[in-house]
């Protein structure tokens, strides 16, 4: 087991280093000079050449590229991700941290609900394969799965917005009311009510994917010989499912969960835009538009780390759960 851990960790570290360098190069190669991007004021007015030159020096674009790369690698590992080009007095780490909290809340909640619902419905569908419940759940799942996310979001606003909707339930934008209530209970309810529509949107569009994976995995397991053996031993169906079938069907889910966790941090851009939910997804879009290199690098760094580490963890969990993998 230890050798597995060491080998996979080393691979992960090498991957991270390569991706860091690639990230750095890619952003420098993008067209559009961030120094000139700075001066976007009324109706496209433009700055003088001296101003642009000074801005380039402040931004460090004037340095030769290998110097920039060296500084970048050192700064990354010491946590000094610099100041945003665009919000000049703010640290990149601060900006991302503020938004990451909201994204985690939104996408984390919806992922948990999706996974839980997906596993339950997938299991029940596999159980009643071919029957009404199976066909029904798959049909409904695909129906929502195939919708564009933003369109579904807008549809939910039309249906459930607390002033505009047919059934008036939830607010349609923002992570909280403005200004947010200070009293803890009111704040909690406020946050939850703002979370409702975005979460429902995300759950509906993702549900079918998880359901299908669970369903097909469990169907495969149910045809295995050891399931017949277990039944022949006299175990009840419930016991067979719980102790033999589902634990084996679970293994692919580990991989799926790991991949999903990694993408939590990118935020759900479409949902965040439609609902003006101030998270990491919106931040990514804004940073692109503003050519805000440090913020973009920070965001992609986090995504990289998240994907690599999630894969690493899923490898370990897999090894832990499945002894066959451990001893190969």
């Amino acid at each position: 087991m230890r050798r597995v851990i060491v080998k996979k960790s080393t691979n992960a570290a090498a991957a991270i280093l390569l991706i860091l360098i690639a990230n750095f190069v890619l952003f420098r190669v993008l067209p559009g000079d961030p120094a000139t991007q700075f001066f976007r004021s009324a109706q496209g007015a433009r700055p003088s050449e001296e101003l642009i030159e000074r801005q380039r020096q402040i931004l460090g674009i004037g340095d030769p590229i290998h110097v920039q790369l060296g500084k970048y690698l050192v700064n990354t590992f010491t946590g000094e991700w610099g100041y945003s080009f665009f919000r000049k007095s703010q640290l990149v780490t601060d900006i991302i941290a503020q938004k990451a909290a909201w994204t985690l809340l939104l996408v984390g909640t919806s992922t948990l609900i999706t996974l839980w619902l997906g596993i339950v419905i997938g299991a029940m569908s596999a159980w009643r394969r071919g029957k009404a419940f199976d066909l029904g759940s798959l049909g409904v799942g695909f129906f929502f799965y195939s919708m564009p996310t933003f369109w579904l979001g807008l549809l939910l606003v039309v249906l459930f917005h607390r002033t505009l909707g047919v059934i008036r339930l939830f607010p349609g934008s923002g992570a909280t009311s403005i200004p947010p209530p200070t009293e803890p209970l009111a704040l909690t309810v406020d946050v939850l009510s703002h979370l409702a529509l975005p979460v429902i949107t995300l759950v509906l569009v993702q549900l079918a994917g998880i359901t299908l994976i669970m369903r097909s995995s469990l169907i495969e397991v149910l045809t295995e010989d050891y399931v017949v053996t277990a039944k022949a031993k006299g175990l009840s169906d419930r016991q067979v499912l719980k102790r033999h079938a589902i634990p084996n069907a679970r293994l692919p889910m580990v991989t799926v969960i790991a991949l999903n966790l990694a993408f939590i941090v990118t935020g759900a851009i479409q949902v965040e835009t439609v609902f003006n939910y101030d998270g990491v997804g919106l931040l990514t879009v804004e940073a692109f538009q503003d050519s805000d290199y440090p913020v973009l690098q920070g965001l992609f760094l986090i995504l990289t780390f998240a994907v690599v580490i999630a894969n690493l963890v899923s490898d370990f969990v897999y090894a832990y759960l499945d002894p066959r993998v451990r001893f190969e």
Binding site: P31, G32, D33, T36, Q37, R40, S41, A42, Q43, G44, A45, R46, P47, S48, E49, L51, F86, R87, K88, S89, I95, Q98, W127, R128, R129, L154, R162, T163, L164, R168, L169, F170, P171, G172, S173, A175, T176, I178, P179, P181, V189, D190, L192, S193, A196, I219, T223, V228, K231, D237, V240, T273, V274, N276, D278, L282, L283, V285, E286, S291
Partner: protein, 652 residues
């Protein structure tokens, strides 16, 4: 009052901020010395009254005596003196153009003297025409004197302390800015004297959106009270009654903006390109604009082939005025009303005739033809007096130059014109910014007109940053861009001066006569004299057509008139606006209607009910599932295993 914007502010420091939304904050927090009033005339803001000496060199400003900074320190003339000197010493580009740079500009403020705590006297080296429209925020000396020049553009300036009508409270990053009314604001007593008992807006929440769509939804839902950031379609389609009551809730305000959009030509002469390549400001491979851009006939023919009113109506939903001269009609005193005799009225036949015969010396038809076509087909290229014409000789629908040596241009064909083919063909490119979707629609409207007279133009969509780079390299032919200006015409006039090449200039226009007039008007304090020169400059610019100015856009704002009254008529008073021209004059006349509008939103019982219902449903489901588990029922376990061959008993 809740105001929505699709761009978050980027800094609390005026010297660091570049987003125009930041100026919303500054307009309410800071004051100007002399304000820009509802009809764009100078009005008291920090200066109560003013006078100028007979020789035009000395200006006396009498200040209000009851003004306090937001941190309760008293405002005095020392703050004014400090502000002007700080800007000049630290060379702060944002305001330096207004006060003048003693080391570089021909006209500048020379001295600032404090005659008393409420009187400041400024002298200029020569008469300075724009002393009553200095867009300079007056800064608190007791804060900024402690900030070194090199830090002025990077310091956070949190909180920003000014003398304005609203005090900054907090900035929740990514979400909103909260401002609170400055109860000591010195202009309030004057308003109350006229309208006793008037109520003002106490708090402003400036809320940020990344997209216009949730902003639009929130306005319709009543969560936003005013915004200027709806798209044209949303602005036009918004209903006037948006809540459940049968009254009119929405007021749609359009006001003239001091801005224009233009179709520009890169008219850089070979001489200028050569000079800049020699000095290293241009690389040898730059300067690739098509040489025909320097030919006046080409530009004028294109101007005649574009119906500007149609662009306003069809690409901009009618939300603007037809463009003409350099200074927008928002400042009618400076705007040059182009007379009928000089105007380029839309006429494809006249455009074609101009290209057929630029020197108007008559033409001969090809044998057998009857009349030259819109593309110049039917012209005999061999005829002597057609040698200056542009005609479609090879029948591909694009005019060629019959004899390049007979074309009056400031550039000669190099053979590497732009990205396109032959320098002898009227085949150009037009560069448009990706975010300028309405301009792109406009291009889709006028490019076919140009094609019909034999000029082929290809569209290139680029980011703003790329366009800036291309512009500084003189590597484009036509392009679409715009400018925003001030109440004082100086800035907009300056953009076509030779000095602004590689600065604000995008057209590479260089005309010594124009430059001389620009210098002259800077020193004319008498408005009538100055107006004559300003008009003449615009006449020259219109004739030479480095720009085809096609629209002066309106500012379009929507507001809740059932919650706030006193919006005023913005067509008559273009100086009003959500942040006016650096002022809160709208807020001085806006009065809340019903109490409770804009306060923190109450606990939503429906939402609470919904959540409780969802949780209850979850619990019920769980209970049901658990109860069912107890029932032992046989469930099929998937498909039956494939039939096994029967075990053979061992053969004896």
């Amino acid at each position: 009052m809740r105001i929505g914007d699709t761009q978050e502010i980027d800094s609390l420091n005026p010297f660091a901020a570049v987003e125009s939304s930041s100026y919303f904050l500054f307009a309410h927090v800071y004051d100007l010395l002399v304000g820009i009033g509802p009809t764009l005339e100078p009005v008291p803001q920090l200066a109560r009254s003013w006078s100028v000496s007979a020789d035009g060199l000395s200006w006396t400003f009498n200040l209000y005596d009851n003004v306090k900074w937001h941190d309760n320190t008293s405002f005095t003339a020392d703050d004014v003196k400090f502000t002007i000197e700080y800007i000049q010493q630290c060379q702060l580009a944002l305001f330096l153009g207004y006060v003048g740079d003693p080391t570089a500009d021909p006209v500048y403020i020379e001295t600032v003297t404090v005659a008393s705590p409420t009187q400041v006297v400024m002298t200029t080296n020569v008469p300075k025409a724009n002393m009553l429209s200095l867009f300079v925020f007056i800064l608190p000396e007791h804060i900024w004197s402690g900030i070194a020049c090199e830090d002025a553009e990077t310091v956070a300036n949190d909180p920003p302390i000014g003398t304005g009508m609203y005090r900054f409270v907090r900035w929740e990053q990514g979400s909103f800015i909260e401002m609170e009314i400055n109860t000591n604001y010195h202009l309030i007593p004057e308003v109350l004297a006229r309208k006793p008992g008037m109520d003002f807006v106490d708090k402003i929440f400036f809320q940020f959106y990344t997209d216009a769509l949730p902003l639009y939804n929130d306005f319709r839902a009543g969560d936003i009270d005013a915004t200027a950031d709806l798209t044209s379609r949303q602005f036009l389609e918004l209903a006037l009654n948006i809540d459940d009551l049968p009254d009119v809730d929405v007021v749609k305000l359009t006001g003239d903006d001091i801005s224009f959009l233009e179709i520009g030509f890169c008219v850089a002469s070979d001489a200028i390109i050569g000079d800049l390549e020699a000095s290293g400001d241009l690389l040898p491979e730059q300067g690739k604009r098509h040489w025909l851009m320097t030919n006046l006939t080409t530009r004028q023919a294109i101007a005649l082939a574009i119906d500007r009113q149609s662009l306003v109506d069809n690409a901009f939903q009618g939300l603007g005025r037809k463009g003409e001269s350099l200074i927008p009609p928002a400042t009618p005193y400076w705007h040059y009303d182009v007379p009928d005799s000089e105007e380029y009225k839309f006429n494809l036949t006249a455009a074609a005739a101009l290209l057929n015969d630029p020197r108007k010396d008559g033409f001969t038809l090809r044998t057998g033809a009857t009349v030259p076509g819109l593309k110049g087909e039917g012209l005999d290229p061999a005829a002597a007096n057609n040698q200056d014409a542009f005609a479609d000789i090879d029948g591909d629908g694009i005019r060629e130059v019959i004899n390049t040596s007979r074309v009056d241009a400031e550039g000669a064909p190099k053979g590497n014109e732009g990205i396109l083919t032959s320098p002898d063909e009227m085949k150009f490119g037009i560069w448009i910014i990706d975010a300028a979707t309405e301009s792109q629609t406009a291009a889709d409207i006028f490019l076919p007109w140009l094609a019909s007279i034999g000029i082929s133009v290809q569209k290139f969509i680029v980011s703003e940053g790329q366009l800036i780079d291309i512009s500084y390299g003189a590597d484009y032919d036509l392009y679409m861009w715009g400018f925003g200006g001030d109440v004082d015409p100086d800035f907009l006039l300056s953009v076509l001066t030779t000095d602004q090449i590689l600065g604000w200039q995008d057209a590479w226009y260089s005309n010594p006569e124009y430059d001389a007039l620009y210098a002259e008007q800077q020193g004319l304090v008498d408005p009538a004299e100055r107006q004559a020169v300003v008009h003449e400059m615009q006449r020259i610019a219109y004739r030479d057509t480095p720009y085809i100015i096609y629209i002066y856009q309106f500012v379009t704002t929507v507001g809740r008139i059932d919650r706030f009254t006193g919006w005023g008529n913005w067509s008559e008073s273009p100086g009003l606006g959500l942040s006016g021209f650096g002022n809160s004059f709208l807020m001085l006349q806006l009065e809340p209607v019903a109490a409770g509008a804009g306060g923190p939103l109450a606990l939503n019982l429906y939402a609470l009910g919904g959540i409780v219902a969802a949780v209850a449903a979850g619990i019920v489901t769980a209970v049901v599932v658990i109860l069912r588990r107890r029932r032992r029922e046989q469930m099929p376990l998937g498909p039956p295993p494939p039939p096994q061959p029967p075990l053979q008993p061992p053969q004896p």
